[in-house]
Every structure is written in C-alpha cells, then in structure tokens.
Amino acid sequence: MDLVRDVLDKRLVDREDCEMGRVDGLVMELGERSQPRITHIEIGGNALWARLHPVVTRLAAKLARKWGPKRAAPVRIPWSRVITAGREIKLDVEAKETGAIDWEIWIARHIIERIPSGGHEEEE
C-alpha cells in the first residue's frame, strides 16, 4: 500500500457510511529495534493546517478557542480500526463518538436548527 497515494487525503466513513472527514495526517511509531509502523489516522485541526503554514495553524487555533466545540486533543483513530481502504477508507467506529464530526454537530445545534425548517440533526 502506498501511504501517500492510497491513504493520505482519502475520505473517511464510519461503519454506517457517515462521512467523517479525510485522512489529514498519519501518526507513525519508530521503535529502536522494530520496523516503523503507522499507529493512528489524524483528522482535522492542527494535523490539517500544519500542512499549509505555521501562521495558518496559529490562526486556526486562535479561532477555535473562541468558537466551536471545545476539544483539547487532536482526533486520532487507531489504525486497527480500518476495515477497508478502497475508494474511501471505512473505519470500525461511530463517527459521533470519535470527535471527528464535533463541528458538524456543533453547527447543526447552534446555527442550522435555529433557522426555521432547518430540521433536527438527530432525526432520520
């Protein structure tokens, strides 16, 4: 598997096929004796902005402190949760519980549902 071609920037979906972002970063473990191996997939936040420029990262962090869902750690999904990696990468998780769609839920609750006929994020 070619990490950059087949994994990085691919779409991520949970076991219910709910979109949960893209592979914005990969976490690798380097042991002294063992081979390097990929341990986690990183989603959103710093992992993404750091690929552009440090200034963008600082700006995004500043905005995130004022707005949106509060979250201290970046979203990391263990590599062992990968079910399939093809057109998209399917993960054996529930999107809501990972924190990957915190923003989606926050915007739905705080903005969209307050607009008439915006509906409710929970309903099917």
Partner: protein, 404 residues
Amino acid sequence: MKKFLQIALGIVTSVGGFLEIGSVTTAAQGGASFGYKLLWAILLGTICLIFLVEMSGRFSAVSKHTIVDATRERFGFPFFSIVLLGMVLVAFLVLVAELGGIGLSLQLLTGIGFRWWAIPVSFAVWLVVWKGTFGLIENGVSLLGLVTISFVVAALKLHPDWHGVARGLLPSLEGDQKAKYGFIAVSILGASISPYLMYFYSSGAIEDKWDVTYIPINRIIAVLGMSFGGLLSMAVLAAAALTFGPNGADITTFDKAAQIMTSALPRWGLFLFAVSMLVACLGAALEISLAISYFFAQGFGWNWGESIGPSRVARFSLTYTIIILLAAIPLVLGIDPIKVTMISMALTAATLPLAIVPFLFLMNDPIYLGDHRNGWISNSVVAIIILISFVLAVISIPLQLIGG
C-alpha cells in the same frame, strides 16, 4: 424509453441553463463593439465546454468520485487549498454578478433600483437551496430557462448577414482597439468555459448515482446541450451586432442590452429580455451557490447533498448560507453588476489553468478511469483552448485596466 427521456431532459436543461449574465453581457458587448468578428470566441469556448462537460460526467460515472474529491486525494491538501482559494474567489464574484443580474431584471420590470432587490433576491435564492432538492434546481429552473430561446427569435427577425456570420466564426485580429478586442474575447471565453459548471455537473452525476452505462447518454447531452447553448450566445452576439452596428455603443446598462430584444420585438421585447435574464441568472446563482458548497464539503470530507435536510449536512448548508449572504453586501453598497460581470469573466479565463490542468491529469489517471481515460484528441483540444484563453487573459487584462 426512460433513457430517452433522460437524454431529452438533459439536453433541454443544459440549453435552458446555458445563458446567464456573463454570456449575455459579454456576447452583447462583443456584438455591439465589433459586429460578428468575435463569434469565433463563442465557438472556441463552446467546443472546449463540450469536451469538459463530457469529461466531468465520464469521470464521475466511472470513478464514482467528484472532481473536487479526486483533486484533494490525488494532489494533497496544500495544492488543493490553492485551487480552492482561486476557484471560490472567482465563483464568488460570478455569484455577485448573477444576483445583480436578477436585481437588474427586476429593475427593468418594476422600475425599483437593483440595490433594493439585493436582500430579497439573496433571500429567495437561499430559500430555494435550503428547501429545494437537487432535481428541482437542476430541472425546474433550467426548464424555465428555455425562455432564453427568444434571443434566437430576435436574431432571426433582424435578418443577419450569413456571410458575415460565417467570417466571424474564423478568428481574426482587430486593427485598432486591440486591447478592448482582446479583453472582450477573453471575457467571452471565460463566460463560456465556466469551471463551476464542471463541479456542479460532476456532483450531479454522483447525486443521480451515474455508472458506466451513462457514458453514451453523457456524451449526447454534452454535445447537443452545449452546442445549442452556444448557439444561444451566438444569437445574442448577432442580435447586438445588428442592433447597434459595428463600433456601436458600449453596453453599460441592462436598458441598453434590452435593445437587442426590443429592436426585433418592439411589443414584447423588454418583457422577454427581463424575464429571460431573471430566470437565467437565477438558475446560475443557484448552481454557483451549490458548487461553492460542494467544493468545501467534498474537499474537507463533510456530509453533503442537496436533497438531504439542512441539519444533517450542517456545514454544507452553513457554507451556502454564508456565501449567499456575503454576495448580497457589495450589491447593497451599489456596486455595478455589469462591471463585476466583465471583470469576473476575464478572471475566470485567467484562472482556467488552475482548474483545468489538474483535471486533465485526473482524466489521464488509470487509477480513476481505467480504460475510460482521455484520448489524445480530448487532451489536446482542451489544453490548446485553455492555453489560448490564458495567454489572451494575461495580455489583455492589464492592457484593459491601464486603458480604463
């Protein structure tokens, strides 16, 4: 039978959706300033658009990816963010122009200035996207857009000189006023080859769940739909040439542009022009708002879909809500929609390589398209036309800005 209906609907909607403030203003300006001489720019733009639309549909039908999706995946986030920034800025300007076009049409119909229409018009556009479904926007508005065929009636009633028309289809250089000639040619090319149309079309192919069996249908729709659409633009140019004569006036207002219709149809002309522009700009405004939201949602991996309730695609819905709101501001402040149109069309032409070059790489990638990759003809036709548009844009935009 079902497929036949789909083809018919596809063609009809692409004809109805072809004209918008960009194509009408640039074609009318071209005809009024240089007679039939700029017809070649519409021909070239339309040929390029036929290839691009065919490719967009084929890409999504075969790879099950939208163009944006694949651009992020294949080229990575840093490059993607440059394309995103460029495309969204230009598309935003075009959205301002289209909302302004709706306002100007209402001004023609009611006499109330377009600035007063900015807020109600933006609200109406937002409401259609918020409440409507993809089918409604794709088919409903485009069907109404068939009223733009009245431009063909107007052109025919003015009895064009067919020899002049034929000569105009071949590129020629203008003796004096080279900067203006080049600038209008670039704007016409930018108005014909709209990248947002590709993003919209490829997202539509995914929303409508196209597969490989749609390739022939897609080809027919692209060729016939875009050719008829191009004919409409040519009719606008010819009608303007006949109304104003060579070296005629600059088209700076909608009242002036409406003369191309009233000179042929004195009784109904003004009304037909206003309604045609209203529907055409409305359709384009809806498509662009959606295209911008698709761009963000697909690029960042958000849930998206026009036919899903807004709260279940919250970030997607928030994006078009903000974009439409922002686009109303310059209009409320009184910016001239026609000026915005000319500038945004030229900028579209200048930024075409940013959208098209990565797309051509994708169209030749066996990972996505397997045996359905581009052949050398599609590659060269599109590459050459994009190169011509880009060179013309780089030369003529600064000249036009210096010359005022």
